[in-house]
């Protein structure tokens, strides 16, 4: 009874934007009609997807997010981090699949998501070349994995490892990146809080809310 339905309207890469929207509207209307006639009201969400761009990843991100019970505290933590460190946008990514499991509550920007996802590719690919020891398996992603990419648009992309599966990717303005010490301190609080959240099932203790700094001490 509580099952969630997600409908992927797939292979839309060949259609124009207007056509895509019309397609979704048609399918959505038809489905709703038939469901109304059958007198059932399941939760259904619709997504337009294609493997030739990031839309399939975004759709899967949304599907996965509905399945994570820890989503509200994760989003809270990201909000805290974003506002205290003066970041523009933060994503918690699964490194292997590049879907994001949480983001802060500022408006979603798909182009930023794509850029951050591409940044993960750069980090993983470069780490595969230079960051692997003799006879090591895996892709060079370890607890000290990090990356800073500076863009010509006065923005900085900052990536930090959170745990063996997750990475935090933030977008911020260059002038706010000068306060890197603040960001690193707050990130440390964030990382510990994440560990608490995911450990709660195994250790059964309540997480302490982190205290993040908004200014560096004078």
């Amino acid at each position: 009874k509580n099952i969630i339905f997600d409908v992927f309207i797939h292979k839309v890469d060949g259609l124009s934007d207007d056509h895509k929207i019309a397609c979704q509207r048609d399918i959505q209307m038809q489905t709703e009609q038939e469901l109304a006639e059958a007198r059932i009201q399941p939760r259904v969400a619709f997504h337009l997807t294609s493997i030739y761009d990031h839309s399939i990843f975004e759709a899967f991100s949304k599907v996965i997010q509905k399945l994570i019970p820890q989503l509200p505290p994760l989003e809270n933590l990201l909000d805290m981090l974003t506002s205290s460190s003066h970041l523009e946008k933060t994503f918690l990514f699964d490194v292997v699949s590049k879907i994001y499991i949480a983001t802060d509550s500022t408006p979603m920007d798909n182009t930023l998501y794509e850029l951050c996802s591409d940044m993960i590719d750069v980090v993983v690919d470069v780490s595969c070349i230079y960051g692997i020891g003799e006879g090591d398996e895996g892709y060079g992603y370890d607890p000290e994995s990090a990356s800073i990419i500076k863009l010509s648009t006065k923005r900085v992309l900052y990536l930090r490892e959170v745990n063996q599966y997750l990475a935090l990717v933030c977008v911020l303005r260059e002038e706010n990146f000068d306060r890197i010490g603040l960001i690193q301190y707050n990130f440390q609080c964030f990382k510990e809080a994440i560990e608490d959240i995911f450990a709660i099932n195994t250790k059964g203790r309540r997480p302490r809310p982190p205290v993040m700094a908004t200014e560096l001490p004078k």
């Binding site: 750069v122 690919d125 470069v126 230079y130 692997i132 060079g140 990356s147 990419i149 863009l151």
Partner: protein, 255 residues
């Protein structure tokens, strides 16, 4: 076409959608600031080849520094390919005796892997014999792996003035920073121009891979109408820094 892979920042996957070459294209590419590469892509059309080799001969073949001739390994017309090649060589001998000549044996991905070395060796021997007294260099290439990049890098390397001095400076710099390696890439194409390696590395294709990684990311950035200025990636074992170095080059330092 090959040109689009190396110079317009398309990645091999994208060219599948571009369609086969059907016309004679002439384009120029600027790199390293003031070097201009003129490219005539005839797509194997006989009528056009005849035209260019006859009527525009002196225009095309004067003041040539480099001739790059591409042979498709799966050609149905080996004899006419050779014939046109010889005409080009004759023109080079006539107008630009000191040009460097490079031959690319292309689409090697179509040859089974165990036959590639033999096929290349045979073709190379044939071409060298035919090209005497000009000294030619041959490469085996495919758009689907790093061989094409390696070929173009070598070609670009031969075009750079003072390349030895550049090499020396790079080595000194690498020593001073105690870097594992330092590599100089040309800005627009991300072809490797020069390198100084202080710590040996098992992956011989790594610079081509870095080039592809960066070009892929450049494409992503361009969707946001921006470009990257610097990239830093690290983990517990290494730190890599890629930055704009001069107006025409990027430098990569690995610690």
């Amino acid at each position: 076409s090959m040109q689009s892979i190396v110079f317009a920042n398309y990645v091999a996957r994208d060219t599948m959608r571009l369609g086969a070459t059907i016309d004679v294209e002439h384009s120029s590419v600027r790199f390293l600031g003031n070097l201009v590469l003129n490219l005539w892509d005839c797509g194997g059309q006989d009528a056009f080849m005849e035209n260019y080799l006859e009527s525009q001969r002196d225009h095309i073949f004067k003041n040539v520094e480099v001739l790059i001739y591409v042979f498709d390994v799966d050609t149905k017309e080996a004899a006419s390919d050779i014939h046109y090649y010889q005409s080009c060589l004759a023109a080079i001998m006539q107008y630009s005796r000191n040009a460097h000549v490079f031959c690319l044996i292309h689409k090697m991905d179509l040859v089974p892997e165990d036959r590639r070395d033999i096929t290349f060796a045979e073709k190379e021997a044939e071409l060298k014999k035919m090209s005497y007294p000009l000294n030619i260099k041959c490469f085996s290439t495919s758009i689907w792996d790093e061989t094409l990049y390696k070929a173009w890098s070598s070609i670009v390397y031969s075009l750079i003035p003072n390349v030895d001095m550049l090499q020396q400076h790079l080595e000194r710099f690498a020593e001073v920073c105690e870097a594992d390696e330092v590599v100089l890439f040309e800005k627009a194409t991300f072809l490797e121009i020069s390198q100084s390696v202080r710590k040996p590395h098992t992956d011989v294709h790594r610079f081509e891979k870095i080039s592809n990684i960066v070009k892929q990311f450049k494409l992503s950035c361009s969707k946001l109408q921006g470009q990257f200025q610097s990239i830093e990636v690290r983990n517990s074992r290494f730190a890599a820094y890629i930055e704009l170095f001069t107006s025409n080059t990027y430098i990569m330092v690995i610690m």
